[in-house]
């Protein structure tokens, strides 16, 4: 019995390692702890504050653990007039969706958990659509005015951001000639797609801000009018799950941004091992994206719903069509540059 | 400013009970309560267009409430205090909301604190006092016969 298990582990060591450590559970939890801590600390510094200091002696690095412990040990309340079962179940399902997205991403040339038979991009975009819908459902079952307005706004946001994203991603697909995420990264060996696809990148970035609910496109969770958006009624452990889902979603979309436009794992082979340096470069780029997004968060105002939807339909969609035309011309005149 | 006094007296005669200019930029006019709306309209046409405040004073000895409105004139830069006396037993007065829309909240507050009924006021609804305030038991807070003793903390 044990021998067979050991044999199984030996044979599938890499897969198991990927599921449990990187990019699986351990990585996701590590990212959560780091991202929330880093956000609080970085924003606090920009606000000329200190942020958490005393928890865990050095730079308040244990702050997130303390928060998690507190939230887990708190009472959780299910409001009387909500749909109780769904109210309880949906937040548990919610973090799973972005977690699946995370494992679709290639971290090095031969380091990908599931490549979806060369259709990774399509699977990613298809699964990512579920997240706002679940989010909307959560707002609806909570049966609170603020969550219901938040739910409506989630749908507005979905309408405003999702279609431009898909259209702008088409440019990348045309250049690389494939839906396979590994091949897309390989196609960026010579030039990162941010240069030929600069229009598409801008459209994608704005859509990305919407899908991850970050300023200036974070109107579904606008705390000045909606308290916490769809999260308003959640307490304790369930609230923790919702927060987690939020950050994992951010991680997944940031990784997609890195893969599509910033050259993915491409970079100098500094460790003498392609896999390790690939992972290294992916994470470095991820970190840079995070810093940029947080800086944007602190320097801009939030768009109103109608303004955001107008931006999506009147500006972003025409822009992405122009981008498509440019892409086709580029592909036609310089076919050799894009690896495919 | 003297001309305003003459104009008012010739227009309304005995209804103007008092006309004072205590200092620069101030006019105090006291009118009888039945002509208050007409005087207000007249003053508005004279350029007194911005309501600043309104309220009442309880003169328990004379058995009257003195209701006052404070109006500013945007082009003349004068503050006008329009006053009138009403009886304490039957405190009703015509509301001036139709003349100056801005006095709505002040009259609402006066209604709440003194129990003065403003006729023609669109929204006499409780504003500042708690929902469980009982006028029968506790009385109107800004009247002089209202005592703070039951609420005072013992030393």
């Amino acid at each position: 019995m044990i021998e067979s298990i050991l044999k199984f582990v030996e044979a599938n060591f890499k897969t198991l390692f990927m599921i449990t450590v990187f990019p699986g559970l351990a990585f996701i939890f590590g990212f959560l702890i780091f991202a929330v801590w880093f956000e609080r600390k970085y924003l606090a510094r920009l606000m000329v504050r200190m942020g958490p200091v005393h928890c865990g002696k050095v730079l308040g690095w244990l702050q997130l653990i303390a928060d998690a412990i507190k939230l887990i040990t708190k009472e959780f309340i299910v409001p009387r007039f909500s749909l109780r079962l769904l109210f309880f179940l949906l937040p548990i399902i919610l973090p799973v969706i972005p977690a699946i997205l995370v494992v679709l991403i290639p971290y090095a040339k031969d380091y990908i958990l599931y490549d979806a038979g060369g259709n990774g991009l399509i699977l990613f975009l298809a699964l990512a659509t579920i997240y706002p819908v679940l989010s909307m459902l959560i707002g609806w079952v909570s049966n609170n005015k603020f969550t219901i307005i938040g739910a409506l706004r989630t749908i507005y946001m979905d309408v405003a951001a999702e279609i431009p994203i898909v259209l702008s991603v088409l440019g990348v697909v045309i250049l690389a000639g494939t839906y396979d995420l590994v091949s897309i990264v390989e196609a960026q060996r010579k030039i990162w797609f941010i240069i030929p696809q600069i229009l598409g990148f801008i459209v994608f970035l704005i859509g990305y801000l919407g899908m991850t609910e970050r300023i200036p496109m974070d109107f579904p969770v606008a705390e000045v009018e909606l308290v916490f958006g769809v999260k308003t009624e959640y307490t304790g452990p369930l609230y923790l799950l919702m927060m987690e889902a939020d950050y994992i979603n951010w991680l997944a979309w940031s990784l997609l941004l890195v893969v599509l436009y910033l050259g993915g794992y491409n970079g100098p082979n500094i460790f003498g091992n392609e896999t390790i340096s690939g992972i290294f470069w992916t994470l470095i780029k991820l970190f840079i994206v995070m810093v940029v997004i947080l800086t944007v968060k602190i320097s801009y105002a939030r768009l109103r719903v109608d303004q955001a939807v107008r931006l999506g339909w009147r500006v972003l969609i025409p822009l992405s069509f122009i981008n498509l035309v440019i892409t086709i011309l580029l592909k036609y005149y310089f076919p050799g540059l894009w690896g495919g | 400013m003297v001309s305003l006094e003459e104009k008012l007296k010739s227009e309304f005669g005995d209804a103007i009970l008092e006309f004072k200019i205590p200092k620069d930029n101030r006019i105090v006019v006291k009118v009888s309560p039945d002509r208050i709306v007409d005087v207000a309209y007249y003053l508005k046409n004279e350029g007194f267009d911005m309501p600043i405040s309104a309220g009442a004073v309880d003169y328990m000895k004379n058995n009257v409430f003195e209701v006052f409105w404070i109006i500013w004139s945007s082009d003349k830069n004068i503050v006008l205090i329009l006053k009138t006396d009403i009886s304490r037993e039957n405190p009703t007065i015509q509301s001036l909301v139709e003349v100056w829309r801005g006095v709505q909240k002040f009259e609402r507050e006066t209604w709440e604190m003194f129990g003065i009924d403003f006729k023609g006021h669109p929204k006499l609804k409780r504003l500042l006092l708690p929902e469980d305030w009982d006028y029968e038991k506790e009385g109107y807070p800004l009247r002089k016969d209202f005592s703070l003793k039951p609420y005072t903390v013992e030393k």
Partner: protein, 166 residues
């Protein structure tokens, strides 16, 4: 006390001591007061959350929704009309929950000792920490918050603390 809470209460009491200590440590470092102002000490409270005094150093972070918060900081005078809402907010908060009085008005009505509208908080809700002053200095508010932290560290871990006084 609901049946559900009683059940959890029993579970918590059975936990070994080190684990309960860890729970207390977590709770003591993440006190999230509600974003709720009742009176005139609020500017001072704002300064305490601001850069110079920065309460977030100890993980004290004002939260927008009652459902995610752990404490009510009564910032200045509480009137009868406000108390009705405050009790409702207290009922909406998940256990364990704490109450802190900031400012002398909340303790003994302070400069409004003869007001017909201001009430004492302790007549309605169980209070954990009293901070006196009108308004208290930022150092005093910080000291109060840290006193609450110490109190949490030393208490028996459980879900239910006290019932609401009627």
């Amino acid at each position: 006390m609901s049946k559900y809470l009683e059940k959890f209460e029993g579970l918590y009491r059975k936990l070994p001591k080190p684990i309960r200590k860890i729970f207390n440590w977590g709770r003591s470092f993440s006190i999230w007061p509600i974003h709720y102002v009742t009176g005139c000490c609020s500017p001072e409270f704002m300064q305490v959350c601001g850069p110079r005094y920065d309460m977030e150093r100890w993980g004290i972070l004002p939260m927008a929704s009652t459902r995610q918060s752990d404490a009510i900081f009564f910032v200045g005078n509480v009137t009868r009309k406000m108390m009705i809402r405050a009790i409702r907010l207290y009922e909406q908060m998940p256990e364990p929950r704490y109450v802190v009085n900031i400012g002398v008005c909340t303790i003994s009505k302070g400069p409004f000792y003869d007001s017909y509208s201001v009430v004492k908080v302790e007549d309605y809700l169980p209070v954990d920490v009293y901070i006196s002053g009108c308004p208290p200095k930022p150092e005093a508010i910080l000291h109060g918050a840290l006193t609450l932290r110490k109190k949490i560290l030393g208490e028996k871990v459980g879900l239910v603390r006290r019932e609401i006084k009627k």
